[in-house]
Symmetry: C2
Subunit: 333 residues, 2 copies
DNA sequence: GTGAAAGCGCTAACAG
DNA sequence: CTGTTAGCGCTTTCAC
């Protein structure tokens, strides 16, 4: 067995509770005793057992982070930022991948609930009803979806989408296609609404197309429909879809941005490294991860009272190389 | 407070120990009692508290997974596979990012050690000495580095590197550059040794160049050196470096594979999506993640006795579009 | 097959 | 400021 509080107490000639206090409420211990205990603990290599502590305090100092797909380049920066922020606040984080499967998501939440002080739900696939039922078991913060009454971190794609549509319109594109994402995706709905409004405002046509899949495969298989739509500008659900689309268009002899202008979402690594460099909408995923951790910790420590917070993070368009003036249209001044 | 074993006991008219057995040793309970307890537990929404269980059993059913950089596309598939494998075996996993910082790595291991049954160390930056010291606190499995006496999962880059060098030689490249990785990287050493031997065997020149950084920036800033080296074939530490290099070369008016052939390592998403599609060496990261979990669990359950295991996973060359015959050389039959 | 009792490592009143 | 006592939720002998 590892060294416990009892070993330290014995070796430093004090009672266990004094050792306990040395670690969890140092100011209640005389400097002299404290130093002695600390020295002994150090020497013995003592580490408080957090699980045991959790049993009495009711605080595990652990968080759960549940994402749909770790391998989707959208998530790693968020995961990285979240676990870093948590660590700085002395929390550890369980990361679990639901494989886009709502049932698994629910099961994971339930399994984890006893072991964490709160759960970060990123782009959950669970129904709102289910989420509201589960919240009795453990505090949540939801990222990238709006659930009534829960603290939420939203990345305001609408902003970026409007800018994107206006950008395309300014380049002379009169017909724009929107390759939207999986049904049930909050982001996809937001994009749809913002794009519709912006297209209306800019006086351009908007075709809404639905790929199978929020990945390069989805984009690839949507290429035919895009080509037939007559659109010269395309806004994609994410960078992966955009990259797949570009590939699919190329297979049809269409070039980007020569024949069509394409815009992605996420500002992901593959998009930045692609040729042409992808024009895209930034998603502040790292900031969202940090903010979500802070909101969760606040909810945990405040005991879930108070108005549920809603953090809206800004997105913006980054113009790179995959968009240019429509054929026959003059470059804007 | 959540519902405990005591609530279930009371509600089903049995002693707590019977409820306990129903969950942890069902065969010791009569079918009748068991069903009743189960039904009551279900109704009450009871979930065993794993932390409390850990206190008596000494098994947390948690694992730690420590990686250098979650955002590096090499890791997400490994993380995903590892946590999935763990989940199937009823384990949860803490994921922690060390930011390539050995001190942080050590601290994370120590903090996590009491809370997990074992730790997966991926591409650790810690010294061997330190790792050996820490192993007293918690069982390890090391991925992508060889530490004497510890269970290890290695991806045999050497294999792929030999194939890569031979591939370049067969295409008529007489001078090959190796853009190796950070010092202290086991993979980089392996690549170096294998490349040297293979170049020797194939009768081609090998230049070894050291980029700053195992990322696209490293490749970008190595472009000048590569161009000056006179090499017509380049093997890079990873896909990111390769992609950065290609970009840097292009800025110098050099095209790939027209002027130089470039090979990466990892078979990562950005490489697959790039144009030209990157010729690369597969790293079976997902398999490594699964295998590492199994080795760790075996070590944990065997009590760390027995010969430390060494799993060597195969790598292979995937020829895509970034390599072609050297200028003036005929395509091989 | 089930109950009683002790204890895992730690914290939290309560005394003193 | 420090020791005493009880107990967190669960498992595990040991009886019966």
């Amino acid at each position: 067995m590892a060294v416990t509080i009892r070993d330290v107490a014995r070796a430093s000639g004090v009672h266990v509770s004094t050792v306990s206090r040395t670690f969890s409420a140092p100011h209640l211990v005389s400097a002299e005793t404290r130093n002695r205990v600390l020295a002994v603990a150090e020497g013995l290599g003592y580490r408080p057992n957090r699980a045991a502590r959790a049993l009495t305090t009711g605080r595990t100092h652990n968080l759960g982070l549940i994402v749909a797909d770790i391998a989707n380049p959208f998530f790693p920066p968020l995961i990285k930022a979240a676990q870093e922020q948590a660590r700085e606040r002395d929390y550890h984080v369980f990361v679990a991948d639901t494989d886009e499967n709502p049932l698994l998501e629910q099961e994971l939440i339930e399994m984890l609930s006893k072991q964490v002080d709160g759960v970060l739900l990123c782009s959950p696939r669970l129904s709102n009803r289910m989420i509201e039922r589960l919240r009795a078991q453990v505090p949540f913060v939801v990222v990238n979806r709006q659930v009534k009454g829960l603290p939420t971190v939203l990345m305001d794609v609408g902003q970026g989408v409007r800018a994107a549509v206006e950008h395309l319109a300014a380049l002379g594109h009169r017909r724009i296609a929107l390759l939207s994402g999986p049904s049930g995706s909050w982001t996809s709905e937001e994009m749809h609404d913002a794009a519709t409004a912006a297209a209306d405002g800019a006086g351009v046509e908007l075709d809404v197309l639905r790929p199978n899949d929020p990945t390069e495969r989805g984009g690839l298989s949507a290429a035919a429909a895009v080509a037939e739509s007559g659109a010269t500008g395309v806004l994609c659900y994410n960078d992966l879809v955009a990259l797949g689309l570009i590939e699919g268009l190329r297979e049809r002899g269409l070039t980007v941005p020569g024949d069509l202008s394409v815009i992605g979402v996420d500002d992901s690594l593959p998009g930045r490294l692609n040729r042409p460099k992808l024009t895209t909408i930034t998603m502040p995923t790292a900031a969202a991860g940090r903010m979500a951790v802070d909101l969760l910790l606040a909810a945990v420590n405040a005991g879930d009272t108070g108005t549920p917070t809603l953090a809206r993070l800004e997105t913006r368009l980054i113009v790179r190389e995959s968009t240019t003036a429509a054929a026959g249209a003059p470059l804007p001044a």
